[in-house]
Symmetry: C2
Subunit: 262 residues, 2 copies
């Protein structure tokens, strides 16, 4: 019985999704809870890795259960065993060939900024503090250049196992409410540090330290790597999208509720 | 030069406002930063103590500075030295006889509840999780009995140094938005655990485990202590109010902004 989990976590305490030599990953913590519940060693397959300190509101992972268990009971049982900074928010049965990572059509990340001279303690773990005033108009203008199929070489760190640095960004938005600013990016895939470098450059543009066309220039393959990498703790994996043909049930409504509340 | 600070903190890591034998208090952390800035040992006088794990959005404290320094410079200088979970959000000069504690006319606490079958990681540090559905109408009806001058003996723990357990509650409200529920209490003073016991009883009433008139009964002096103490991490000291004659400048607008955003 294959199931797909929708997972929230506060990344502050973790090495990221995957366990590193010196720290525990979120994946391992969930695997331990699932193994306890299933009374045998269990693995889960995530839709993608998140780096150390990065959070998730809608990470996905699938698992093959050796037992028949109702999704609702599995959700409550796992949450009983998990620490408070990891929550299973949805469990749906999926057909056996469904794969959390390979069947994902896109992912959405949001980069969260607290834009005020003084930071705010209740958002300090999940919002990056930017004291200089950000001009939304400049950031929105610059962000337009990112949409489409581009070589994002200058927005990543060299990784030998990644064969291509070309990705397609489906949408970018820059929104604000009070002192909160959100940079939301949906793409068919993301390179390491890609959203944090996009956010870092947009922040420099918003502060007026870079011209608005700096983003278009940075997409030229000859351009030097973008130097501004926004800190990990402002980044949230918001959602993993699947095509209708692969859609594993009705998680959209749950996601909408989640997003509206967060 | 006497100044009044408005202070925010996430209480998770602290022994409370005051330092305990085994853990650091928020007061001490601010005193160390202020001493560094003033180049001599400094003390601050808080408007009131908060318990271990309790947060503040509008704690107040005054200090006598040995140097002339502009409030804005002091605010930015202190925030540079303070950890991210403590922020000075306002500094105003006050007349010498002004006292953060003795001149306070009332305080407002808010008890924060996340009311859903599954808790939410991004609010787990500052909202108490209640899985059973809470009926707002029942809680509001019960809360009415609290307003006015009462002996709150059954809502506190015995403390030899407290001579009277009579306090005046000026207002109580129970509000909700989505899955968030806020119990807000303004009183001329609070006994130890008073808001947490009020919240604990209101939760039992909201779940239908206690009748709505249980709150009125609990105010009878012969009543046994209220047994339900809601956990510390849902409690926030929202504001300390001062009479117009003692009002130390314009912190109200800052507080409003804070409250609207939080």
């Amino acid at each position: 019985m294959r199931v797909l989990f929708t997972i929230q976590y506060l990344g502050t305490r973790y090495a990221g999704w995957q366990t590193q030599s010196n720290a525990t990953g979120v994946q391992q913590v969930i695997e331990i809870a699932l193994s306890t519940l299933c009374k045998q060693p269990m693995r889960i397959e995530g839709a993608g890795r998140t780096d150390s300190g990065v959070h998730a509101r809608g990470q996905r992972a699938h698992a093959d259960l050796p037992i028949q268990i109702r999704p609702r009971g599995l959700l409550l049982g796992l949450n009983d065993l998990l620490p408070a900074d990891i929550r299973i928010v949805d469990v749906v049965p999926v057909a056996d060939p469904f794969h959390a990572r390979f069947d994902a059509s896109s992912k959405t990340y949001v980069y969260q900024i607290w834009n005020d001279s003084v930071a705010e303690v209740f958002h300090a773990l999940t919002y990056a503090h930017v004291a200089s005033r950000l001009e939304m108009g400049r950031m929105r203008d610059a962000a337009k250049a990112l949409v489409g199929r581009h070589d994002f070489k200058s927005f990543t760190v060299a990784e030998p196992e990644v064969s291509s640095t070309t990705r397609t960004i489906k949408s970018v938005s820059v929104e604000s409410e009070g002192r909160k600013v959100w940079i939301r990016v949906t793409a068919d895939g993301f390179l390491r540090h890609m959203v944090r470098r996009i956010a870092g450059s947009l922040i420099e543009i918003g502060r007026g330290k870079l011209p608005t066309d700096a983003m278009r220039d940075a997409l030229e393959p000859t351009f030097a790597p973008a130097r501004w990498t926004a800190p990990a703790h402002g980044l949230v994996l918001e959602n993993v999208e699947y095509d209708a043909s692969h859609r594993p049930g009705p998680p959209e409504s749950a996601d909408d509720k989640m997003t509206a509340e967060a």
